[in-house]
Amino acid sequence: MAWEIVIGLETHTQLSTQTKIFSGSSTRYGAQPNTQANEVDMALPGVLPVMNKGAVERAIRFGLAIGATVAPYSVFARKNYFYPDLPKNYQISQMDHPVVIGGSLSFFVGDEEKTINLTRAHLEEDAGKSMHDDFVGPHGESSTGIDLNRCGTPLLEIVTEPEMRSAAEAVAYAKTLHSLVMWLGICDGNMQEGSFRIDANVSVRPVGQKEFGTRCEIKNVNSFRFLERAIQYEVRRQIELIEDGGRVVQETRLYDSERDETRSMRSKEDAHDYRYFPDPDLPPLVIAQGWIDEVRASMPELPASLRARFVSDYGLAPVDAAQLTSSRALATYFEETVRALPAGQAKLAANWVMGEVSATLNREEKDIADCPVTAASLAALLGKILDNTISNKIARDVFAAMWLGENGGQPEAIIQAKGLTQINDAGAIEAMIDKVMADNATIVEEFRAGKVKGFNSLVGQIMKAARGKANPQQVNDLLKAKLES
């Protein structure tokens, strides 16, 4: 039996506003428990919600970025259910009339470009947090502590059509969405702090079947790695269940990263009767075309357009352009480097930014914003390769020294101080080649007899003798010439 995997993702992004969606409390992370929850957030008797303009503005920005329709008229509704981290025991959300409708997101899965359609995005409020520590309650009962600081933080819930067909696609989409919301400045993307939380709706069906299989929702996955594993586990689980003659039960599941499995949450039969109705405390949200135009005009160039420009202006492969536009800061860094170089060197710059720079940033767990090597310095370094002062390989050593700030982080100074200037003089190189050839007569003979492997060993020894500074191209050419003569 061939199975098709069907995945839809719902992502809750915490919007980067200063204040909560319905109150003027701060949204800053890490405050002492319940010090950032006022009477509105705590749902004391008599309080009322007042909408945050910044949250709406960010929703508009998102809608424009994904080519969606920003609804001129949308409605807030109450989603009624009891839970201790939800003080009103209803969540103010949007049901029938969300603020953003439709839209799509394109991304690469490996080398293949995919486009996923979005159903909608809507505004809602976040809940508080349960601290599952063993507190002792007023009657000696085992208790959970509730912190309402997070309560009321604005969320934009972004929903895709169930169009993803593999865990890899889901992860690629999630990463792209993650980059986009940070690019737009609407979400800080900090998954450890819960700013970006993914729910995956997963089902399977026999290839060719039109109807969807029963889906399960895996809730609150907060890392891309866990997302991939969770989906993979869940797919396997469902397939095995069906193949064993069972039926998939629609339910909510949690991913347990320690055991690498999903398990059913304790579900309540009534959990789905939320009794949505329009919130009488909040009139409809009206967004005038004028405001949408203002927001559009103030938006940065979007990743998709930048990607296209990198492909057309710099001749980059689409996959590389996508990687370089994964964040605005990285794209800026790249472009600044290119602009400081002579024309036609975009590929060199791309290789270095995607290669050495990104690898070092990852290793040091740093963000491009904190990169100690500026774009200008990088361009200076690359210029030293271009004018043959140093080889690409030596340049990596220089880069490492620049990172550490040696010699003021200046490539010229480092090269001088470490004596790394490339040897370009044919005569000097020939002398080294002659010496190595003389010391390795056997290999030379074998090479001339057809054992070509020896070439690399000779090159290696020559470079060693040159302490890596010989112009590699010249070494190659001159050695070859001598061997063949």
């Binding site: 601290m131 007023p138 912190d147 009488p280």
Partner: protein, 102 residues
């Protein structure tokens, strides 16, 4: 359309009202009476009429007022204490509830 026992029990649970069996039975009777009173609604032909969620919108355009995104609340332990003063169970600045297992 009379309410059954199961339905009353379901509604009571949705509403987090823990009623005894006698109370549930009484609630069932009372609610069926109320349903009788509001049944009249069903017969009215309301085709083409939009629901009126916000009364003033019957006479003027009503839309949501937006507040500037500026912090107006103080963050302090004293303020927290005042806001949590009525809590039946609290510890270390947290509200306490019977442990919830997910």
């Amino acid at each position: 359309m009379a309410l059954t026992e199961q339905e009353i029990a379901r509604i009571a649970r949705l509403a987090r009202l823990q009623l005894s069996p006698q109370q549930l039975t009484q609630a069932q009777t009372e609610l069926n009476d109320i349903l009788g009173l509001i049944q009249e609604l069903q017969a009215v032909d309301t085709t083409g009429v939009e629901p009126l969620a916000h009364p003033l919108s019957a006479m003027t355009e009503v839309h949501l007022r937006l507040r500037e995104d500026v912090v107006t609340e103080t963050t302090s332990l004293a303020r927290r204490d005042a806001l949590m003063a009525n809590a039946p169970g609290k510890r270390d600045g947290l509200f306490l509830v019977p442990k919830v297992i997910d």
